[in-house]
């Protein structure tokens, strides 16, 4: 066993869990602080170098997060291990978190002393052997990007530097700085990269000072509403009583947003550090991490982080000798979108269901009636980073009203789906086109949906809008969790609105009438429109009812659920009108409004469509042109899907 950075360096170190040393964290890197011994110093330096560059001088990093695993990282990891073993080379094969660049999954990074660090994208297990051979042979020409140049490897000039790529250059990696770099299962690595310094500093301050720093930083909650974090903390801090709670809201439920999962899976100690700082600030001795059960790896990584933190005295009694006790429990949610809502989350922890009316706000009366603060994963990661790096840097980014950076998940019709961190106030255009690469040749962005089921669609004409809570609200969307779905001209806006409405109908807890019944009626009306049974009055109904649901609902789920409908109505009324007036779906998505026909010029007479048609609407002899009998066709679209030459067309 090698010496662990977290362990005593020699007998002179008196730190124990019972009598913790106040300078434990700083001493890990700068130490030893209580005694002077060049050996102890060297031991640390050596270990840190080992952590950063590997023991062998050749490090192979494979990202292990649910996203990359889904894309096959596990197989690649195995292939790498096998390869290293069969060749008998000396290499450190480690795991890391995810960089957020989904389009290049799974990737691996090779770094050898004297060689540039090379990242290979979309690696198949079968390519591993070739990649390693090439790299060891001093050739990096097939890499996707390099982290640095050494001028020694072949093909270096042909491969771009990572930091020169538009999708990296335009980002500001503030909270995600460690993602894809650090090993998420090792507290040692986090500390070697400066982790827990924020906590160390915070514990030396008075809670009021911390609140002041967060206030000066201008941090607003990243969970959706953008409530100033310092204010929430101040309210909770000022409540009387000793029993208070902090909760980390890791119940990321918005489909199309995964930045919380990414952060917690790739750099779990950072968010945990934020939670501990929050607890110290408001005076809580018990915290909960509420994780979505559908994201098991996130729960696993966070549990592991909690365990390690407990082992080294960062959780438990008398943390770092500052007389502050705090412990954390990880709770698996059983999956309901509404559980992300603060009061529903509290209900879930208490063993109940459904949100309740606010006020009283959780900060005054929350879990078991005690003052409770609930913060988003990203917010907490920001807290830890601000405490470590200082508020000045954070406050220098962003807009007048909102400081700092925010992570956005860009999916849909773009070439480079991924999770990117940019300063608040970056324009949508820059994020979608420069960073995520736009929709690709020949396609046109029609709209951008921001904020998931609670958000709205921003039309292409407003792409130059800077992303901020207020500007987005004005445009009819919300920042929400930061999920951005790019919609191109292949999608129908009515269908998009219907999709989000179906989501909220399914996720409405059913407690209050406007949301439970109103959303269902909105959904039914939209369905009618997409089926070609809509009337022009329906648009008015949608608008009016949408407004009512928005203003009368009990919780923010209902309060935001009509946004997708209202915003599409606002910007794409012509598409709605095409559906209700001309009974046409301009994007040819709504099945009942398209007609299938077989283009005789393309049909090869294979008969596949005929076999698959459930209503015998297709006739034709084998080898001859087939035709669809429109009166029999039920518009199931099977023939369109199965035709091998694409002869079935919509019109």
């Amino acid at each position: 066993m090698t010496w662990n950075l977290m362990d005593k360096c020699c007998d002179k170190c008196w730190h124990t869990l019972e009598y913790p040393c106040r300078n434990y964290i700083r001493c890990r890197i700068e130490g030893p602080l209580c005694h002077d011994d060049p050996d102890c110093r060297r031991k640390r330096e050596y270990r840190i170098r080992e952590i950063l560059y590997g023991k062998t001088g050749f490090k192979i990093k494979v990202p292990m997060a649910s996203c990359t695993i889904a894309a096959g990282a596990q197989e690649v990891y195995k292939a790498v291990l096998d390869e290293v073993k069969s060749r008998g080379i000396n290499a450190d094969v480690t795991i890391s978190g995810c960089m957020g660049m989904c389009y290049m999954d799974p990737w691996i990074e090779l770094s050898k002393t004297g060689m540039p660090s090379a990242i290979y994208a979309n690696v198949k297990p079968g390519q591993v052997s070739k990649i390693i051979s090439e790299y060891l042979g001093g050739d990096v020409s097939s890499a996707y990007a390099l982290r640095n140049h050494t001028g020694k490897a072949k093909g270096e000039d042909k491969v771009p530097l990572l930091e020169e790529l538009p999708q990296w250059k335009n980002q500001v990696r503030w909270v995600s700085r460690n993602c894809g770099i650090v090993n998420p299962e090792s507290i040692e690595e986090y500390i070697a990269l400066g982790g827990y310094r924020g906590l160390d500093k915070a514990l030396k301050m008075k809670p009021e000072e911390i609140i002041e720093i967060i206030k000066k930083a201008g941090l607003r909650g990243r969970g959706g509403a953008g409530f100033p974090t310092w204010l929430k903390w101040k309210i909770a801090r000022e409540q009387p009583g000793d029993v208070k709670y902090v909760i980390m809201n890791a119940d990321e439920g918005d489909p199309g947003a995964f930045m919380n999962r990414l952060l917690a899976e790739s750099d779990p100690h950072r968010v945990l550090e934020g939670l501990i700082i929050a607890a110290y600030t408001i005076g809580a001795s018990k915290g909960f991490i509420f994780v979505r059960a559908e994201k098991p790896l996130m729960a696993e990584r966070l549990s592991k982080a909690v365990e390690q933190a407990r082992k080294y005295g960062l959780l438990g009694k008398n943390i770092l000798g500052r007389g502050f006790d705090f412990d954390v429990e990880v709770i698996l949610s059983a999956g309901a979108f509404v559980c992300g809502e603060e009061t529903a989350l509290i209900a879930a922890i208490e063993g109940r269901t459904r949100p309740r009316q606010r006020p009283p706000y959780p900060a005054t009366k929350g879990l078991w009636g005690k003052p409770t603060i609930i913060n988003n994963v990203e917010t907490l990661a920001h807290v830890a980073t601000i405490m470590a790096e200082g508020w000045e840097k954070f406050a220098s980014m962003g807009t007048e009203k909102t400081k700092g950076t925010k992570m956005f998940c860009v999916t849909g019709a773009v070439q480079r789906t991924g999770a990117y961190e940019v300063p608040v106030g970056t324009t949508i255009k820059k994020l979608v086109e420069e960073i995520a690469g736009g929709p690709g040749e020949g396609r046109r962005i029609k709209a951008v949906q921001i904020g998931g089921p609670s958000g709205g669609c921003v039309p292409a004409s407003l792409l130059t809008t800077p992303i901020d809570y207020e500007t987005l609200q004005k445009a009819g969307a919300i920042m929400g969790s930061g999920g951005i779905v790019v919609i191109d001209d292949k999608s129908c806006m009515v269908d998009v609105a219907k999709f989000f409405t179906s989501f909220t109908v399914a996720e409405s807890c059913g407690k209050c009438f406007p949301c439970r019944i109103g959303m269902k009626i909105l959904y039914d009306t939209l369905t009618r429109i997409t089926e070609g049974k809509g009337r022009e009055e329906d648009l008015e109904i949608l608008r009016e009812l949408g407004e009512i649901v928005r203003s009368a609902s009990l919780c923010a789920l209902g309060g935001t659920a009509p946004n997708p409908v209202l915003s599409t109505l606002r910007y794409f009324e012509d598409e709605y009108l095409a559906h209700v007036r001309d009974k046409k779906c301009p994007a040819k998505v709504c099945r009942n409004l398209v007609e299938y026909w077989i283009n005789p010029e393309k049909c090869i007479g294979c008969g596949t469509c005929k076999q698959n048609c459930p209503s015998n609407a297709i006739s034709g002899e084998p080898g001859k042109k087939h035709v669809i009998d429109v009166s029999k066709c039920i518009r199931c679209g099977q023939c369109f899907i199965v035709c091998p030459v694409g002869a079935v067309e919509k019109r």
């Binding site: 649910s66 996203c67 889904a70 894309a71 989904c102 389009y103 999954d105 439920g253 918005d254 489909p255 199309g256 947003a257 995964f258 999962r261 059960a293 559908e294 994201k295 709770i331 698996l332 949610s333 059983a334 999956g335 309901a336 979108f337 879930a348 922890i349 208490e350 063993g351 109940r352 269901t353 459904r354 998940c409 999916t411 849909g412 019709a413 789906t417 991924g418 949906q449 998931g452 999920g483 779905v485 919609i487 999608s491 998009v496 999709f499 989000f500 989501f503 807890c509 459930p614 199931c636 679209g637 099977q638 899907i641 199965v642």
Partner: protein
């Protein structure tokens, strides 16, 4: 729908679990968590993990042993998506209904799968008990959209299929059908 499943469980399928075993299993869980209301959800998660679903008997037993009213237990069982009151098929096919997957046509894939498996609007599990079809929210693998995931009932196997081609669905189902049959046979063989 929920009442239907409850009734069905009450009348049709009570023999699926062994009552004595249920009592002792629930007791072990209640002891482990101290029977506290706060851990109700966790206890139910344990039960679901053990049986693959929440048998009515186990819930009744849980309510009896913890003193939490059955209606509250059922409230949680029906409110959260993770819980199911029906025994699922050997493999559960999860079709992602997230935004990215929807835009890339996963709703069609769902319909096609329903067709292939011969399910109607009221059933989620095939008659032979090999497959259940479920809708899922985003797996966080949106870059692979459209995505379907196939998990085994006990959760030990997990396969994710990205960039699903509607034409390939039949093949995928066939592959898992033979896999499931093989595994069930192995299990039976092993027991003898």
């Amino acid at each position: 729908m929920q009442t239907a499943t409850l009734l069905q469980l009450k009348h049709g399928q009570t023999k699926l679990v062994d009552l004595k075993e249920v009592v002792s299993f629930v007791r072990s869980i209640v002891e482990c968590y101290g029977g506290k209301r706060q851990y109700l959800m966790r206890m139910m998660q344990e039960i679901q993990k053990h049986y693959g679903y929440l048998p009515r008997e186990a819930l009744e037993e849980l309510s009896k042993q913890t003193g939490i009213p059955l209606v509250d237990v059922l409230n949680i069982a029906t409110f959260y998506h993770q819980f199911t009151l029906e025994p699922p098929g050997y493999y559960i096919i999860w079709v992602c209904m997230g935004t990215a997957c929807h835009l890339k046509g996963n709703a069609d894939n769902y319909d096609i799968l329903k067709n292939i498996l011969g399910l109607d609007n009221h059933s989620k599990t095939t008659k032979d008990g090999l497959f259940s079809l479920e809708k899922a929210r985003c797996f966080g693998a949106c870059s692979l959209a459209p995505v379907i995931m196939i998990t085994s009932r006990d959760g030990s196997e997990r396969y994710l299929h990205g960039h699903v081609d509607p034409l390939g669905l039949r093949k995928i189902v066939a592959k898992y059908r033979s896999k499931a049959i093989k595994k069930i046979k192995e299990k039976k063989g092993g027991r003898k």
